[in-house]
């Protein structure tokens, strides 16, 4: 079972158009898809390039399945040709002067693993068929659409039977439909190959769709690593919660804690909010209340006032793919479907219901 363990330190000096940058990460990836998720310029691609061997880290060690790819202390730097990393570049990097079949043949001839002649021919045909490229095999990359290029790039990599897959924003510039079909192809590949796949992305939805684990990156460091749900449901810091953009966040104080009933109470914006028990926190602790936008339900205001409800002024409402996105004061937001929105139309103030189980607290 292949796995990646990498400790990387790489400093880039300040250049004309960019300030100095330091990458310092400790990455562990099991077979399955691990997303490196972060804004542009956070060092995601640099991490991939170091693992693939295109760049040499200043310090650290890269192990893939107990084979040392890089060790600064021992002076080991296995060249990229011997690392068997399948790398998908942002623009796919299919050789423009070769046809699709020749691109695959190039990979097959250097890999040289699965025999020559007829065997190789059969294997290439199999791959072309798997990726629905048989009819396009004679075309040059410039004659392919974005989705076809992507499948060709993936097929070319699989010819070499890589030990790990590195994907650098593979769906950039693709429309939603093509993305979906690529996700399906990638999932199939993951199940078939059983190797670690590192996926660089700054697309939250892509993370949700594909990733088994997520590493949230910013400014050259991992803010949080873990299984996808643990990262998205329990962000480790206010920064991550804000940055994910799916949370309503407000300053709060712990007013009550009851381990027996597994409950707690927070005071937030003058409201009392019940939530689950908060182990490791004390009464009077200050921090931030968080709830995911998708957990919040909205109704028209009435006179009744009870726990876990707050009435906020509406700032803005905009249509979005899943319905209507309503923005409230204090940077709160919620998404409601068109049907749910009809009774809310015209109200300046709306009531937000927050389910107790969805309340999450981040200490200061």
């Amino acid at each position: 079972m292949n796995r990646i363990e990498a400790r990387l330190v790489k400093r880039l000096p300040a250049a004309q158009d960019s300030p100095a940058f330091e990458l310092n990460v400790h990455l562990e990836a099991q077979p399955g898809i691990t997303a490196l998720f972060g804004p542009s310029g956070s060092g995601k691609t640099l991490t991939l390039n170091c693992i693939a061997g295109f760049m040499r880290p200043d310090k650290g060690r890269i192990l893939v399945d107990d084979q040392i790819y890089f060790d600064a202390a021992a002076g080991v730097h296995v060249p990229p040709q011997q690392r068997r990393c399948g790398y998908i570049f942002q623009d796919h990097a299919l050789f423009p002067h070769m046809t699709v079949r020749d691109n695959l043949r190039f990979a097959a001839s250097v890999a040289g693993s699965k025999g020559r002649g007829l065997n190789q021919h059969r294997r290439l045909n199999e791959l072309l068929e798997t990726f629905e490229l048989s009819d396009l095999a004679g075309r040059k990359p410039e004659q392919l659409s974005g989705g076809q290029k992507q499948r060709a790039a993936l097929a070319r990599i699989l010819v070499t039977e890589p030990r790990i897959l590195l994907l650098d924003e593979p769906t950039r510039g693709l429309d939603a439909r093509l993305r979906e079909s690529f996700y399906a192809v990638l999932r199939k590949t993951r199940d078939r190959l059983q190797v670690p796949i590192l996926l660089v992305t700054h697309d939250l939805e892509e993370c949700f769709e594909l990733a088994d684990s997520v590493c949230v990156m910013e400014r050259g460091a991992f803010l949080q690593c873990g299984l996808r749900d643990s990262v998205f449901h329990k962000p480790a810091s206010l920064e991550i919660a804000r940055w994910l953009g799916i949370y309503n966040v407000a300053p709060a104080e712990i007013e009550a804690l009851d381990p027996g009933r597994n409950t707690s109470r927070l005071r937030m914006l003058g409201y009392e909010i019940d939530g689950p028990y908060l182990p490791g926190h004390l009464l009077g602790d200050r921090g931030y209340f968080c709830v995911r936008q998708s957990e919040v339900t909205v109704s028209a205001p009435d006179n009744g006032k009870s726990h876990n409800q707050l009435v906020l002024n509406v700032v803005d409402r905009n249509p979005c793919p899943r319905g209507i996105h309503i923005a409230f004061e204090h940077d709160f937001a919620a998404v409601v479907s068109e049907a749910e929105y009809q009774p809310l139309r015209g109200h300046e103030r709306l009531k937000l219901h927050i389910p107790a189980r969805a309340v999450y607290f981040i200490a200061k």
Partner: protein, 260 residues
């Protein structure tokens, strides 16, 4: 016939006398161009031969150096780059002097050449090839470096990550992608090799029928008052150069409708 041997005097000192001697004795007596209407086309053929050979050398060695400069980092890279550029800025006489010292019959390099090929290098047409190389290599290497650097590194990285060695990546990926640029540079390099004068006359001399290239022949014709010959040769070399540059442009320009 008396031929001053470079070994007799210093290898350099006798050059002027040598050239003048040849011109006065051979050009006027053996090849009476003033009198008859026949034009000696030998300088043109020699120039074409010299330039072709020089282009072959510059393409092989120059492309290698350009690749090293564009793809490698090593100590002394800037110095190497400066050394390659040097012939571009030094006066041809200085370059010629260096060549005479380095490859003259008394120098180790010159002796080695003589031992291998059985004849000295200086004052032969082969020396004109060396001179033409010096004339065209710096520009070729500088431009080829830019062309090779312009090949998207991601194609090379992709080839590496597929397991292709650097050698294979160069032949199968880098070179094909740079071919259009390099072939237009090859044409330019050939045209430039045709035109060397200073270094050629220093190291190959001006021996009609043996080392007299086109540009040297023009100088010779003008100096000896043979205006007709000079005009013809000037027109010929201009036409050849124009044709070469034109074809280089045709090669460089992408065909219409291509996405590249």
């Amino acid at each position: 016939m008396y031929r001053p041997q470079p070994r007799e005097a210093s290898a350099i000192g006798c050059r002027c006398a040598y050239a003048r001697y040849n011109r006065s004795s051979q050009t006027r007596s053996n090849r009476p161009m003033n009198a008859s209407s026949t034009i000696d086309w030998f300088p043109l053929w020699l120039s074409l031969r010299v330039a072709s050979l020089a282009t072959v050398f510059v393409l092989t060695a120059g492309t290698f150096l350009a690749y090293v400069l564009s793809h490698k980092t090593f100590r002394g890279k800037n110095l190497l780059d400066a050394l390659i550029t040097l012939p571009l800025v030094l006066p041809p006489t200085v370059l010629g002097y260096y060549l005479l010292v380095l490859a003259g019959r008394v120098s180790p390099l010159g002796r080695l050449y003589e031992a291998v090929f059985g004849q000295p290098l200086v004052f032969t047409w082969q020396a004109a090839v060396v001179a033409a190389c010096l004339h065209s290599a710096p520009i070729y290497i500088k431009a080829a470096r830019a062309v090779l650097e312009a090949v998207d590194y991601r194609y090379e990285w992709a080839a590496h990550s597929l397991g292709a060695s650097e050698w294979r990546t160069f032949w199968r990926v880098t070179l094909p992608l740079a071919l259009r640029g390099l072939s237009s540079l090859a044409t330019l390099s050939f045209a430039r090799s045709l035109g060397d004068f200073g270094v050629t006359i220093m190291v190959a001399g001006n021996i009609p029928g043996r080392t007299q290239t086109l540009s040297v022949a023009i100088f010779d014709a003008v100096e000896s008052g043979n205006g007709r010959l000079a005009r013809v040769l000037v027109l010929v070399i201009s036409a050849v150069a124009l044709a070469l540059l034109w074809s280089a442009n045709l090669v460089t320009r992408a065909p219409r409708g291509s996405a590249a």
